[in-house]
Symmetry: C2
Subunit: 373 residues, 2 copies
């Protein structure tokens, strides 16, 4: 009775599939009718009972069917995912959405979030790698008026951020330009983490470049702020989608909304286990998560460089196969448009050639190359 026999697995898969589809407890009769016509419901009941004892199923009350437990979803994601080919319509949505040219990485990120939502019908989320762990390509300083300048931070993966910084003494254009050069020499190529954590070097530089001290310190401050600021790294789309799966009880809806509200929390959840290709986090446990929700994410790569994670937040009973197929397809599409052999590695910045839309058409796709939680 301790073994997960093949038949038990089949039945378990049937329960999960059925529950994902209908959101109501699955009965033995239902399984017999739709999945395993050749054994009797009584036998299935025995198996269900065993599976319940093993912790895979939950019975809301004695005379109800069974509902998958978190453990069951975990196993399901590990073993039972099937290839879920995208419909031509879905493919079309994705292709069209990426056919338009983009000038800026952030644009593309937003668009990706939107398309994930459109195709999966779940709330989508993209969390970019913390600027902390990313190399600076360049910083620029552009004077705005005598008391302020725009600091432009360009990271190695092509993301551009900027921020106004102000200073107390009036500075002229020339001074700014000079400072910009000097400071750039210091910052370029370094990781933000390196700069902000290395107090010694900071002091040294700060002393060496006395003239630019205030500016330098301001810049460090801005970088530090970005490094600890989830806000600017988290992109959401389709926050209202949860209204479309209303089988959840009030509690989890509230937890969902609270989670959605706090970008820090989202970032924490998604950055938690971020070294695997696909990550699936089901429900809330010691290490975080969202009550009654599942978070499925995949590595988000642009031009071969990993720039963060992209995925979906939905009910536990989400259509995992579909979501993973969609994420996988989108990943592949992004790969193609950003790394289509057009430019060498050195130009892997934020811009894409203007003019005609990228030509591509691929209908084959891999199913679920997963890794699971």
């Amino acid at each position: 009775m301790k073994d997960l026999t093949e038949r038990k697995q089949k039945i378990l898969k049937a329960v999960v599939d059925e529950y994902i589809e209908n959101a109501s407890p699955v009965s033995s009769g239902e399984i017999k009718a739709k999945h395993l016509k050749d054994i009797s419901s009584a036998t299935i009941r025995n198996e269900l009972s065993a599976l319940e004892e093993m912790g895979y199923l939950i019975q809301p009350h004695t005379s109800a069917g069974r509902v998958p437990s978190r453990k069951a979803y975990g196993l399901y994601v590990d073993k039972f995912l099937v290839d879920h080919p995208l419909t031509p319509k879905e493919i079309q949505i994705i292709e069209e959405s990426f056919n338009e040219r983009f000038d800026e990485v952030q644009d593309l990120v937003k668009r990706t979030a939107k398309v994930i939502t459109d195709v999966t019908n779940y709330t989508s989320v993209i969390v970019l790698k913390n600027i902390d762990t990313v190399r600076l390509r360049e910083i620029k300083l552009v004077g705005l008026d005598e008391f302020s300048a725009l600091l432009i931070i360009i990271t190695d993966n092509g993301i551009i951020r900027d921020k106004v910084i102000a200073y107390t003494e009036a500075l002229n254009e020339k001074y700014i330009a000079e400072a910009s050069m000097h400071l750039n020499a210091i910052f370029a190529g370094k990781m933000v983490g390196e700069i902000t954590s290395d107090e010694k070097a900071q002091k040294l530089i700060s002393a060496q470049f006395k003239k630019y001290k205030e500016l330098y310190e301001n810049i460090i401050k801005v970088l530090k702020k970005y490094a600890t600021n989830a806000e600017s790294n988290v992109y959401l789309d389709g926050e209202g989608k949860f209204l479309e799966y209303p089988d959840q009880d009030i509690y989890s809806t509230k937890d969902f909304l609270e989670a959605i509200d706090s970008k820090e929390r989202i970032a924490d959840i998604i950055n938690n286990d971020n070294n695997i290709e696909f990550s699936v986090k089901i429900g809330k446990d010691e290490s975080g998560g969202i009550e009654k929700c599942a978070v499925v994410t995949a590595k988000y790569k642009l031009k071969g460089k990993e720039i963060g994670h992209a995925g979906v937040i939905g009910p536990e009973r989400m259509d995992y196969s579909k979501v993973m197929s969609v994420l996988s397809y989108i990943g592949k599409t992004l790969d193609e448009i950003t790394d289509g052999g057009k430019h060498g590695q050195e130009r892997l910045n934020s811009t894409e050639q203007t003019g005609k839309p990228n030509q591509r058409r691929t209908n084959d796709r891999r199913g679920s190359d997963k890794d699971s939680k």
Copy 2:
């Protein structure tokens, strides 16, 4: 029976006040007990009946109390608002929030939204004036690499936006700098509307500055996009607050969420009647609005310049007096910190002196200087 006698007004006000407080239909007995002890409930019933006939009240069913109609709210906002002094704690929240220095107008805007939500406990919304109707102070072009540059748009009210633009031919730094100067000469001081709508001038310029044609056209495109793009002008905070007034039925919650989801719609509602100091839009009517919700906004000024509208989206039965008092107080506070006689008009850009927080302390405040819908 056609006149809104003084007593009727009192009763109407009582109904609205009571309903705002308790969210349940108001009965004649309640009014007698809490508001008009010296007339009998029977008399009040007669009056209620008359008020209902006049369209101010609605009876959900025969044996229920009365609920205010939209017409009643309108009258209430017009005539019955009272001065609603802020508590010391509320004042403290506001003051503290603005005491920190800010470098950028957008920062201040976000902070304003946050503080409105914190103090009123409603979802707050700030809609900046469309860039279309605002004069450009300056544009800058900063080369990022040979195929792209960052376009920085600085408007007359100190708002900074930027956008990467890409071009097809490699351009060097010098070229960009030159173009930046030339183009700036063309754009500075003009309103975006002027530039984008005047096709003739566009053609002319485009011919005259042949060298910069592609750039110029790209810039126009970006400006046009901003001009028609609500997204970047709408700031929300406290989107989840609606959970805290759950007396609404499912429908209106849905409409609320849908409205919140679409920044265009928000912008439409708020820009609709934007020439009055305070605007109150109750419920949904021909000209838009949100079912069962009220939108209260005030002009949002910085350094004496009107830069948009700030306000609140909440249930129809919102605490109008309080909201208006809060908006008014915040408006006054902003006036003081941004125009405290520190700099002349010419420096009304985005920066504020660094260092010590602004010193100010004002506890007097005006109540409700309203204008109403």
